[in-house]
Symmetry: D2
Subunit: 291 residues, 4 copies
């Protein structure tokens, strides 16, 4: 099915420009050879990602860089906010585990909010997320984020179409606001192909250590793969903005995704004793949504 | 001194339209005889407010209405947010005490945040206020609010001019956002003349029960009366918007202010068994900032 | 009915000594003429309390003393914890309102916890109360307290007999523990006679401002007046201990109760510029449970 | 040096019985050959612990059991509280990481409180810990716990001797209280020999990933090894009680410690489909403080 065509509901005016065709056109206009990259990645053809060599060593080197970053966060009173978004089984949990592994829990926090309580359901939508934004000398990693309302919630029917539309309008404003005063925001979407997701979910079902993780959302991940694609495209188009650019990560190989997302994040930050050689990013693994 | 002319710093583009001359003109254009009202009230000539008759009885009647409102808040799952702003000694505390006096503390909450802690100082500015927004079946009264950064903070030097400018731009967006999903927001500014404020602050200084309340902000209230006026005008002009209209209350007579603010608030809400006769508002005591 | 005899369930060994007969005996042994006082007050004969003269002036004078106390709390980093307990309609809310009226909300806090949430219900019983204990430079007034489990909960069936028994054993230990490091604890039980309570509850039912306050617990207050008496006696006997003496307040006249409870509390604390003349306590209105 | 003899301050009466001599005697009285075990382990001779075979497989099997336990925690509304205590570099963090690795973060929580804030410093000592006790369907692992005041704080001078004495008296009462209503408490002390600790701290100093973890407490760990031993012995003797038995873990081999602590914990709990074969515990690696 052609993504975007079978959209369950008409896109609101705010996101009318988000149709793949338009966007692909625009991308082409940039003159960059994005056709083989973003569309491939975002439109479901499973890109072949080679397993990285020397994974352990390279990860170790990146973790040393993260520790340097941590020192800078404390010394220079930085506030860093990283959203790790993506489909089910894209590898968000494992990604975050590698990032925080050697960092101080009082400096680097990971936040994974469950489904909202009755009280939270009737609050301002961003309220429970806002409560976890980093204060001075903190980095916060959101394992899923306010973008739940951009993708999971509308596809699963956890929110109304009107709520999802309102969210797409508000998110960029919210993100512009929270960055007043110096907070740095990074937004990563980890993409995984239909086939790779199927394999991982099946493995999860078999594994006695992971069976309990299977949720209704996981069950829907495959059945509604295309609906998730459409919601994702609409969301990315509506919420990629100057104060909150999306970075797309090819998650089909977990190790490559980890090395490249971490390198990409570090390369966007300034800290003493930076080892630039450790931070090369493969542009076919992490790429800006809009070049 | 002509308010607005001697402004300590050039108004940001966002609030350029806030100069009294413009505004007074615009007000005149409405055809309403606002010249004798809003300007009088907001520009320092102490308006004579007659002490209301039968204050006790009328307050009692309004409190009965508030109890009806409370019932509706619970039954209809309303979320009501009321900002009580104004100069020092304008009568904010006493106002709120009368409103909550016979209401259920689990339904009606009053929030008076102190000066921010070190942690809060480095958070997103709206974060600590957002934490107190009403959830379902709640009314929250803010005794001072995020508008601290519109008036008190820039005048007292608690924030930078750039922070105050950013605030004036963000406040309307924040207010539009939090009203998604049905929260109702009301913003009252209680004004008090230079003379009346002087009298009240002096009384406070004499009263052994109130001496401890004197803060650096109170000391500045008179010395910088005009600076507060200018900040107020800039703030009102920049933040009166379709999703957050300012209501100006003449606070020179406390009893009149109480009766009229409560009546005004109630008249803007729908609840069963409403006694409209109890809700007449004197338009010289409570008036919209923009008619 | 003779209080204590008709106890619904056999007293646990921990509180076996709490039977009125024993206690009255012991009281007699002290040589004090307590028979006309404590027993009268605690055993339901409505004592005649004269309305105090010059109530307004005396309250004002006490509130000036409370402000002096507040200053000492801040200067000397005191931690003061006051439990205001008693039957329904005993006048707890009004008492606390008079105490906090002119005190700084950041120094003096009043805590009235609602019925426990599902989460709280499965926590350690004291946990949600412990969260509100005063830190340095604070006074906390509990409007009802952990003693819910001593009286209201067992009478209303909100807890099991075993839970109530456990509570009576634990409360003194908990109170000894929290006073490590200097916190000062005061425990007041405001008593009201059957007749006076009936009058007040009836007035509440008639008053449009107070009708909403009527709860299932209020409905039971009269019907189970004797059961409350028995639970109260058991609770007082089991939880009056060297680190947590009970003070009994005759609440049949609200004004007298207020003046005397406040004077009693102040007289037990040390603070500069204390005006001892303002602090006389009528020993028939506030009296220690054990002399 | 004979442990206990050079104690910096005389033991309070509450813990007079804690002198190693007495205890060793008592242990001997049990008839168990504890002399070669507990004393060896607790008195500094580095016991040789063989690296366990098939570590990965055995850990995996235990983690499967932990997932079964997790299911029981949710289904049977259990509340489980596990204290992981021990010297610096004993392996607490890594232990907890293995336990939680495959468990649901909403069910199993790990709590590592930093040094107390100014506010917390003046609260009731147990207050900030009490806030994290498990509610229904939760397991909480404390990475260090209230026992900070039993060992680290007195040795480092973070609390007064009187505060430490008070703590030793209060801890058993606190633990008895929180277990009312069904919470299950487990207390593990992971011991590590002077030599092994030296090696680990040195490795930490060399490792760019761990350097930042070096704190003043770590620096003291070796210099005051004996003082920690004495405080530990005093603490264990005073706080091993019927409602809170200490379990001593030989931490000199991290892998053996992990397998045995997890197996020991699981063997003390009941849950469906328990695989007892996976839960054998080496009695020289985990042993009760008092047999
Ligand atoms: N009823 C609901 N309403 C809103 N959000 C929900 C609801 N149920 C689940 N979610 C959210 O959907 C997201 C995906 O759910 P799930 O796959 O169960 O969790 P995860 O992928 O984080 O393990 C989570 O962030 C969860 O909080
Ligand atoms: N189901 C319940 N379980 C435990 N406590 C309850 C329950 N219902 C009411 N309570 C408690 O009983 C006390 C008396 O209730 P009520 O008379 O309604 O309140 P109040 O007298 O404080 O206005 C309150 O502290 C309330 O929290
Ligand atoms: N000034 C202090 N007062 C009280 N406790 C402290 C203080 N400094 C450190 N601690 C506590 O001592 C313990 C050991 O400290 P440290 O070795 O730095 O941490 P950890 O071993 O948990 O990484 C921690 O629980 C910490 O909270
Ligand atoms: N240093 C500060 N920074 C920011 N706001 C402050 C500061 N001091 C006081 N305020 C705020 O100014 C308002 C008036 O202060 P006061 O009159 O002292 O209560 C209150 O809302 C305070 O929270």
């Amino acid at each position: 099915s052609t993504p975007g065509n079978g959209a369950a509901r008409p896109p609101s005016s705010a996101v009318a420009a988000s149709r793949p065709l338009d966007r692909r056109g625009r991308l082409g206009d940039t003159g960059l050879a994005m056709d083989d990259m973003t569309p491939t990645l975002l439109h479901g053809v499973p890109p072949k990602v080679k397993a990285p060599k020397a994974y352990g060593d390279r990860l170790h080197r990146l973790q040393v860089e993260l520790v340097k970053l941590q020192r800078a966060i404390v010394k220079q009173d930085l506030r860093v906010c990283v959203l790790i978004e993506g489909r089910d089984a894209a590898g968000k949990d494992g990604m975050i585990r590698r990032i925080v592994r050697h960092m101080a829990p009082r400096v680097v926090k990971s936040v994974a909010l469950g489904k909202p309580t009755e009280t939270e359901r009737h609050q301002w939508y961003f309220q429970r997320y806002a409560a976890h934004l980093p204060t001075s000398s903190e980095m916060v990693l959101f394992n899923r984020s306010w973008y739940n309302r951009g993708v999971v919630e509308p596809v699963m029917g956890f929110c109304s179409p009107a709520q999802a539309d309102a969210f797409l309008e508000d998110a960029p404003k919210f993100e512009a606001m929270i960055q007043r005063g110096g907070l740095k925001l990074f937004k990563y979407w980890i993409e995984v192909s239909r086939e790779e997701q199927a394999k991982r979910l099946e493995r999860r079902r078999q594994d006695p250590l992971r069976q309990w993780k299977i949720s209704p959302v996981d069950d829907a991940a495959q059945a509604h793969y295309d609906a998730f694609t459409r919601a994702r495209d609409r969301m990315l188009a509506a919420t990629d903005h100057p104060h909150g650019r999306w970075l797309i990560v090819n998650g089909n190989n977990k190790k490559a995704a980890r090395l490249n997302l971490i390198a990409d994040l570090l390369s966007r930050l300034t800290y003493p004793e930076k080892d630039d050689d450790a931070l090369s990013v493969d542009p076919t693994v992490v790429m800006p949504y809009r070049a």
